[in-house]
Amino acid sequence: MDIQRCRGRVLIGKPGLDGHDRGAKIIARSLRDDGFEVIYTGIRRTPEEIALTAIQEDVDAVGLSVLSGAHNELFPEVLRALHQAKGGDIPVIGGGIIPREDIQHLKELGMYEIFTTGTPVQTILNTFREATERYRQKKHKIP
């Protein structure tokens, strides 16, 4: 079994019209340097595009970055689109400018974790490691 060779496949997406990509690109690169295979969608994607891409690429986690304030609309829509495409089990991790009040609510809707500005990248990497490892075990039926 060869699963250890790759830490995991991750999609980093930027839903909505938001153009802030500095953080998303840092996260994408950091994930690569941590051994992940990363697909970055570029800015201005619809939630459906992100979900279908995640499914085709069979990623082990989806990362979403929104700084423009539309997270309460966009994050749930990605979750919904993933669910519809039979990918409701893929962990979705968010980041950006998200007020504290919204985080709890978004996690209740199914976000795996949400990180706001100033979070050490290592903390974020650890969460991706944990989420993808769990997912890959399920994917490859490792007890």
Partner: protein
Amino acid sequence: MNEHPAFVEWKERVLKKTLERFPERQKEFKTDSGLPAERLALPETPDEKYLSKIGFPGQYPFTRGVQPTMYRGRLWTMRQYAGFSSAEESNKRYRYLLEQGTTGLSVAFDLPTQIGYDSDHKLSRGEVGRVGAAIDTFDDMEALFNGIPLDKVSTSMTINSPAAILLAMYVVAAEKQGLKPAQLGGTVQNDILKEYIARGTYIFPPHPSIRLMTDIIEWCSREMPQFNTVSVSGYHIREAGSTAVQEIAFAFANACTYVEAAVSAGLNVDVFAPHMTFFFNASSDFLEEIAKFRAARRLWAKLMKERFRAKDPGAQKLRFHTQTAGYSLTAQQVDNNIVRVTLQALAAVLGGTQSLHTNSRDEAITLPTEDSVRTALRTQQIIAYESGVCNTVDPFAGSYCIENMTDRMEQEISALIGRIDAAGGMIAAIESGFVQRQIEDSSYAYQKQIESGERVVIGLNKYQESEEVSPPVFQINKFTEENQIMKLANIRAKRDNQRVRKALARLEDVARGKENVMPYIIEAVRCYTTLGEICDVLRSVFGVYEEAKGY
């Protein structure tokens, strides 16, 4: 020095004229001890290097500033970028800012407006009025400036891809105030190239975008001679993660592309270049930032004189707006941000900025609340009125450290511009992803320095505190989107749709050809054609841009 012929000539030819036309703000400027504050401190015996590289303010190469008396004559414009929700609510904020002593307006539009979608477009869902004013038709523009005399208050509009349309709306809105285009001052950002590399609100591919931009420059040089037709921005490039050197180099490379385009469209450098302004970032590395501004002024003057043969000093002068560095502000211990902003603003003033936006303490958390905007504005006012740094021109000149750093920055910026020239110019360098990669590399390196602790950010990776009280978050009106969509539906129903269709058809023809689009856009705007409708026509003619991959 007092007898040196160069100094005497400057006094006679430059200073005197300025003092006659624009007397200084005070008869005398004094230190706290009552000593006179020197207008311009000079070396005892100026050498060749001083005269050629540093010189005198208001005179080529402008290292010491673009005006001979700088802030003794007039303070910089205090201009806070703001806008949210509907035109009406933004209008309220502008009036508040004017009451508090801002001296110029700076309009933020929401993302659908900046990307050319109407508020009722599918992709606008959740974004209407969220980060700026939503503008669909010129009716919204009218509401935005309701009660604000557009001939008295200078307005800067952060709009790029659809700049021609917003400018047209501005012109028609001013018409309703009884004003002619020639009476209007202000600025449109209209700096498309940095959208591809840093800011992200592009619509069309580079070449047609540059055509739109030169149409604006050409039309304004005829019809709106007081208006600044482009604000070339290094600011956003820096916020996207570049270094100070890259900030200036890429901004200048963009600016050179615009100048070339305008020249090949038949415009005279000495006529349009005085209406080109710049926009830079003031970050935390205090001394480097001061050196950066000084180096930039000198290099731009050289570029204009030597590369573009500009003769008018107005065309050689680098006039710029500055905003403090948003990316340096933290969500942790937010009050520390006030201190950061103070240092950054001070660097901008010591670097000779023409106007300034100071960020709010809650920058990293939310759109600023009214309270925190006030503190930010007060910061500028304290520097202006209490610190005394405005009493003398370019106080850091002659410091070994600053002068060496200025030279060094100029060399590095120049070398990077050379690399872009060698790569076939800025458009080619953008399309190949070269520029994006450079910025991403710097941004990644910066982040890694923070992670490793090599770069200290107080409150973030040193002297952290665990207990955080969250400051109040700015709340936008929940009904903005709904209201805006209703308003738009109303307009669509009431306007003369026949006339709209005709205007759009004409515009399409003109866009396919070579004629200036401005008059046709103005006609379309006048009959309540929406921003989205106009952009759709242009999209069908010009195509859309797809992001280049950086890494």
